[in-house]
Each structure stands twice: as structure tokens, then as C-alpha cells.
Subunit: 370 residues, 2 copies
Amino acid sequence: SEEFSFVDHSHRRFNPLTNSWVLCSPHRAKRPWLGQVEDAAVEQRPSYDPKCYLCPGNTRATGAKNDSYASTYVFENDYAAVHAAQPDCSTTALAQVAGKGASAELFQVESMRGQCKVVCFSPRHDLTLPELSFEEIGKVINAWQKLYRDMSETPGIGYVQLFENKGAMMGCSNPHPHGQLWALSDVPSEPAKEISSLKSFHAEHASDACSCLLCSYAAAEQKNSETEATNRVVFQNDSFMALVPFWAVWPFETMIVSKQHVKSVADLDSKQVLDLAEAMQNLTARYDNLFQCSFPYSMGLHQAPTETHEDAEFCHLHLHFYPPLLRSATVRKFLVGFEMMAEPQRDLTAEQAAARLRALSSVHYKVAAK
Amino acid sequence: SEEFSFVDHSHRRFNPLTNSWVLCSPHRAKRPWLGQVEDAAVEQRPSYDPKCYLCPGNTRATGAKNDSYASTYVFENDYAAVHAAQPDCSTTALAQVAGKGASAELFQVESMRGQCKVVCFSPRHDLTLPELSFEEIGKVINAWQKLYRDMSETPGIGYVQLFENKGAMMGCSNPHPHGQLWALSDVPSEPAKEISSLKSFHAEHASDACSCLLCSYAAAEQKNSETEATNRVVFQNDSFMALVPFWAVWPFETMIVSKQHVKSVADLDSKQVLDLAEAMQNLTARYDNLFQCSFPYSMGLHQAPTETHEDAEFCHLHLHFYPPLLRSATVRKFLVGFEMMAEPQRDLTAEQAAARLRALSSVHYKVAAK
Ligand SMILES: O=P(O)(O)O[C@H]1O[C@H](CO)[C@@H](O)[C@H](O)[C@H]1O
Ligand SMILES: O=P(O)(O)O[C@H]1O[C@H](CO)[C@@H](O)[C@H](O)[C@H]1O
């Protein structure tokens, strides 16, 4: 009788971090694509753009003026999604939209306070993360460390989300290399799910040598990387591993995970900071090389909500990269219809994606062309 | 002291169906949009396109020939994500990708069988749902009923997902009006979450007059629709209500919910079928009228997994519409960075979205222009 094959047969894989499934249909990569093609990004930009609201010394729409910064630069988001001070949502206020006598179960609301900041990665308008040096990326990580520590000490802040949207396809409205910080009064849904899984795993493995889900997973993938068919690792150094998770959703989704149990970016020493910078540089250079374009993605850090959060010790620093491209610089994966209504679905397997990223040079194609 | 206001202050709302939160930042609708604008869809299409693989009588890429159909037409998807027959995933097979001695917790896989079908809504290449008559939409619903019943009786099928991707922006590769069916051996993540919530609600309200979450919610919104500030209903008739859920994520997300406790589309009588057709027509015409364009969305039915599923009685038929447009025919909402890493975020409130849809005519702008 026929044997089950991971490259021919549909299957679902389980994500133990978020407690969810992904449907994998590897044979489906063969179907022709007749749908929307994206605009290829314009690749030539000046190193300084007088109209860019992120370039050094420029004036923003609100009238504020950027410093003439030379490395990284952090400022308050002019269109913040949350504000530091606002009233609580009272029962009276709730009744105004939920209706009088509304069921408390069906109409639940919480006031959400916080701060939003913009983190410019470089004064250079024409560069992106993979084109920066390790040292320059190290400075970005140092800025994250400072922000995370400052926010952790700010009263009313319960969670700090650091992330980057890269490329117009990912809703990024300015190509100047930058990320964001959204710090909130409460822990949002995704990290809350992860923390809950990390805590359950810890409780179930309390008497084992390793009780951290991500320490165990990193160790398993380290071992698996010795055999080609089970190798999901794209790059590793002493401190970090960049891999395609077994349960990846996006075609070339990756995770950079700390090999040591590190709670947050603030706990990284200077060697670990440079190792993370190297992993980020290596991975994003391969991304750009895959389709010879500036590879769009959303990237974010998951770590302890704040330094003193009661669940901080269970948390394990990792970065998620969610890139939409599937076949070329202009053909993306759509997570729509079935994916929205039922379950995320992917075509190529995690192993296939990892092998393709591994086969690429980590020298950026623009550097190689020089 | 300042009072909390739903149109000025950030808050999160809880979705009791999926047990998740959405961050709402109403003041943020004011920020200028400098990012990607989408291509406006080409609106003029011939009523028959000899190159379309969905038009009546045409030959598909695989060589199969479509019937010369006159109303709706169902056929097997030539590039199905799942197949009816394939082997189980054995431990030996799993070891080939997960690695030997891999933790059963961290590397979980299930074989996934099923069937994928395409449902053409009309022979006319140039029409979309809101441009069909109630009777024609009724035929689409009749086709869904038959498919759902047939699949329910098919051995090995445990769940039936009916959905439509409309518009290139939503990954739809052919503008010919059509939807899809993906029937699977197991219940996928999203409906599984909903069923779990419906069951919990039932258990907690077993001694109440109403123990169905969606019956209670529909009744509450019916009452709320009497006051402008709490009115989230866009349209209603005897059998269905089209509303912007209190916890909507997408800017103009809506749900069409049955007012009676109906398990599945198969349980609708002929009057309810026409009422559903009317609700679908009315809602999608308003969608097109909002930005005077063919409004893209993903739409899908949530109902009992199959007719005889053990949890069928807890299920309550409803349709979700997830449309991406935010400000115009070419400016969409991106659920990226923060949304992917932390929590879905929206700008305008559910109440504001409902008021805008309500204010529009339900006569399609193309019909009105004639
Ligand atoms: O099956 P289609 O229309 O070719 O493809 C579309 O719908 C599918 C089901 O929602 C998605 O998996 C694809 O990403 C999307 O492009
Ligand atoms: O804040 P920006 O860059 O203007 O906006 C972008 O990132 C935000 C946070 O992920 C999203 O909410 C927006 O939809 C997206 O366009």
C-alpha cells in the first residue's frame, strides 16, 4: 500500500506556541497562478529625501522636526493608536454603544491606554536592514533594549510590542528603514496565547531537565539540522537560530529564536546582541536574494510583556518574520476565504522553504553585483 | 473629569464567538494615508469570455469541458487542496520530517483528506452577487443546500466550508462570479473555536429561556437597532439580519445571522432561502455603493460541520463578510505588523461602519445609473 509522503499528501501541523493548526497542501504549488500580481517595488532611492518625514532634520506633518540623527532615532508616533491618558470605560459609557441591559458576556469592552513610537533604523533613506552592517543592526537592537527597559518602568504599561512592517505590500507607508513600538496597558491576544502555552508546557515538564517549550524546540531543531530531510534551520551562530518553524503559515515564514533561555531583548549581553544582529542580517539578505527584490514582511519580537511581569520567567525571546511572497517578487500568497473562515493553508512544506533559503547566498545581491 | 467616549478613546472589544479581542482606535481614522494604493478593478467585462475557464461550454486547463449551464454549475476543483483518498500519516512517515525521537507534543501532524469544488453562481461572466436577482441568488443557496447535504452523507467528510473570494485584492484569480467548497475530514480551527464557544454558552445558560449565543446576540441587536447610537443592523427581514458585529475586525466587516435557530443552510425552507438571498443582495449592493466599485471581500458560511455531527444542534447558521477596503476603492486596511504579532486593530467603530452602510441605497449603483 502507498506510504504517506509529506511532499505529496495534505496534512495539518500543530503550532504548540499558539495552540492552532495549519493545513499544508504541498502538491498545490503546481497550480498555475492567474490572479493579482503586485507592483515590483521601486529599488532606487536617494540616500536623503527632503520629502521623507523620517529623514534626519526633516519636518513632519504635525510640525515637529526630526533630530539630525546619525545612527538610530526614536520619536512619538504622530498618529498613535493608543494614548497614555484616557478615562476608564464606565458602565454608563458602555451602555451608550452596547445598549441598556446588554448581556455582560456578549458586549465586553476594556479601555486601552499606551504609547506608540517610531524607531528609525538608520539615517540613510535608501537602505534596509539586510544592507546595514552587524554593528548598525546592533545599534537598532540597543535602541530596542533601551525602549523595552524604559517602557517596563513606565506606570500603566503592561506590554511592549516591537515590530517592523517592510514594503508597501505590508502596509508600510514609508520605505525609510524603520520599525515601531506599541506599548499597551494590557497583554494583547497573540502574546497572551503564547504565554499561556509556555506556562502549560512548564507545568507539564516541571520535573524534566528542560521545562521551556522554546528551549526544547530549539534543541530538537538543532539535532534535526544534522539531517537534510529534517533540517529547518536557515542560519545559526552561538546565540541564535533562524529557522522555518515546523508549523509555519506564510510560505517563507521564519523565527529567530535564542538558543539560551533569555526572557527579553534587555537581557542580551553585547556578544548576544551582535549574534542577533548577524542572524537578522543573514536571514534578511537571503530573503532579498530569494526573488532578487526588497523582500516584504512583517517582523516582530515576542518576549516577556515587561521586565517585571509575573510571567516574565516563562517567556523566551524570539522574532517572527511573516513574509507574503510565494513564487516571485510579484506573486504572493493570499490568506483569504478558506484561511479566514476555516484554517490557514500553505502550499510548500516548511522543509522545502528552509532548503530554498539555505541554498541562497547570505551576501546581499546588491553587494554581490558591485 | 472627562467621560470615556467610544469615538475618541482606544478600547478593546471581545468576540465571544472566537474568544478573542480586537483593538479599536477610532481617532486614528484621521491619519493621512501615504502607503500603497490598489489598482481599481476593471469594471467592464463581456457577458461571455471565451478564455474564461468558468464560462459555460469552455474547456479548462486540465482538458475537462464545462456544461453549457444556464443557472448555477458545480464541478471538482482541478487544483484541490485536499484529496478524497490518501494514506494515514504513520509514525514512520512523521519521523522523516520531524526527526527521530521528536517530542510528540512539539511535532504534531494529522493527515487531511477531503474534496474541493467550484460553485459558479451564474453563467454570466460580467455579473457579481449584488447584480443577480433574489431568485438567482436563491439558486446559489439551493446549490449550497444540495452540496452540504451530499457532503454530509459522504463517508470521511467531517466538515463542509462554503466560501467566496471576491476581487483580485482577495486572491480571487477569476472575476466570473463563483465560490468554493472545501470539505475536510476534520473540523478546522475557526469553526472549532466557534463551536466550543457555542457549547460553553449553552452549558452556562442551560436553564435560561435562550441558551444559544447567536440567538441571544441577534435578539440583543434587534433591540439595539431601535436606537441610532446602538444600531449595528444594516438590513433585516423576517428571517435574517445583516449587521456589523460589535467585535468586527475589518473596517466594514458584517455578519448575516439567522433570526431563528437554524443549524445549517440545509434546514432553510423556501421562504428563508429567499430571505437570505434578499439579505445577501441588499448587503452586497450597499457594499458596492459605498465606494462605487465592485467591493472585494471574502465571505463564508459557518454552520453545523455536517448534518449529523454530534455538535450540530449547538450550531447557528451565519455568514461572515470580511472586506479589506477602508477609505476608498483603492485604499485598504492592512492587518500587518501589530495585528499579526499582537492583536487585530481597527480605526472606525462598528457603530460608525453600520451607520455608513445603512445610509446607502440598496439599489446597485450600476442599476441606478441605467
Ligand atoms: O483557490 P483559488 O481561488 O485559486 O485561491 C484562492 O483561494 C484559496 C482559498 O481561500 C487560497 O488558499 C488562495 O491563497 C487564494 O489565492
Ligand atoms: O502605522 P502605519 O505604518 O501607518 O500603519 C501600518 O502599521 C500598523 C501597525 O501594524 C497597521 O495598523 C496599519 O494598518 C498599517 O498600514
